[in-house]
Subunit: 152 residues, 2 copies
DNA sequence: ACCAAATAGTACGACATCGAACCAAAGTCA
DNA sequence: TGACTTTGGTTCGATGTCGTACTATTTGGT
């Protein structure tokens, strides 16, 4: 298998696994929550409150337009609160509400429970071993994207 | 990191890499072709002609409704031809047209060229090493999905 | 042979995502 | 200070994907 084919195969597999895992999440998340909403809640929880929409969009690797939409959904459900950014009039800051925190916990519970049956089938060591590779690939693609859209 | 967290992290990383690679493809595929169309053309080329839409949908891990749409797009561009299935009145068969073949080659050329700059940054051995893991994960999720929707 | 259940594909409505165009606030530089 | 550029977010239109409901054909049991 030459390099190009390997790379195609690799990304093809990545794409399919991603689709399957997202489908899994979408099926098991409570109340019609979409995996992207879930990911955003988790990000807010991990990174902490007061982040700007753009920062979240970059972290999630979606466009800012998409993040506007995602945050609007979360805000309508009162899972996050969006305030003006005191240090920049163009910007906003995003906060997880208590309801958002609770919802995240509940969602994690549901997903974890649903995952219990399959989780045991995964080879923990193998997953752990491929993580650095994935992260490196992510960084490379990310840099390429930034470079493309930024300069050039 | 406990098992659940590892799995979450793993799928999160997979999702992001998938998004980035799809975005990369979408940016570099000619004539507004979407990565899913590209993947379908590649599948038809690899697996051979005369496959049914459902078989393609399963291989691509999308719903049959989605495949109906994808094939309609490809057919409108005359990259595939869809005929009745002689052995099953409900079914169809899909064929790559000469134009479809040519388009696929051109697309591969474009993408490969665009990828040349980043391809050298990938650690070939690492990608190769994580492929089996990805394939195993795919199989597990796939089986779970089939089980869920089929029985239960 | 007939009727029920399963199956392949389509139609429809909902929604996530994207790119491009746009607006408003900062920043920059003369 | 004032104009040009950059930057954070939103709006808009287009499109890919999904789930559900539906149609037509096939399969299977009696």
């Amino acid at each position: 298998m030459d390099d190009d084919t390997l790379i195609f195969t690799f990304f093809n597999e990545i794409g399919i696994v991603s689709q399957l895992s997202q489908a899994f999440l979408n099926r098991h998340l409570p109340d019609g929550l979409h995996s992207s909403h879930f990911a955003t809640l988790n990000h807010l929880y991990r990174v902490g409150n007061g982040t700007t929409p753009l920062a979240i969009a970059n972290a999630m690797q979606v466009t800012k337009a998409t993040m506007t939409h995602t945050l609007a959904v979360l805000e309508k459900r009162e899972l996050v609160e969006i305030r003006a950014n005191p240090s920049d009039g163009r910007s906003k800051t995003v906060f997880l509400t208590p309801a958002g925190r609770a919802f995240r916990l509940a969602a994690i519970g549901d997903v974890t429970a649903a995952m219990a049956t399959v989780a045991s089938l995964f080879d923990r060591a193998a997953l752990e071993a491929s993580l650095p590779t994935l992260q490196r690939v992510r960084k490379i693609l990310d840099a390429e994207r930034a470079h493309r859209s930024g300069g050039d």
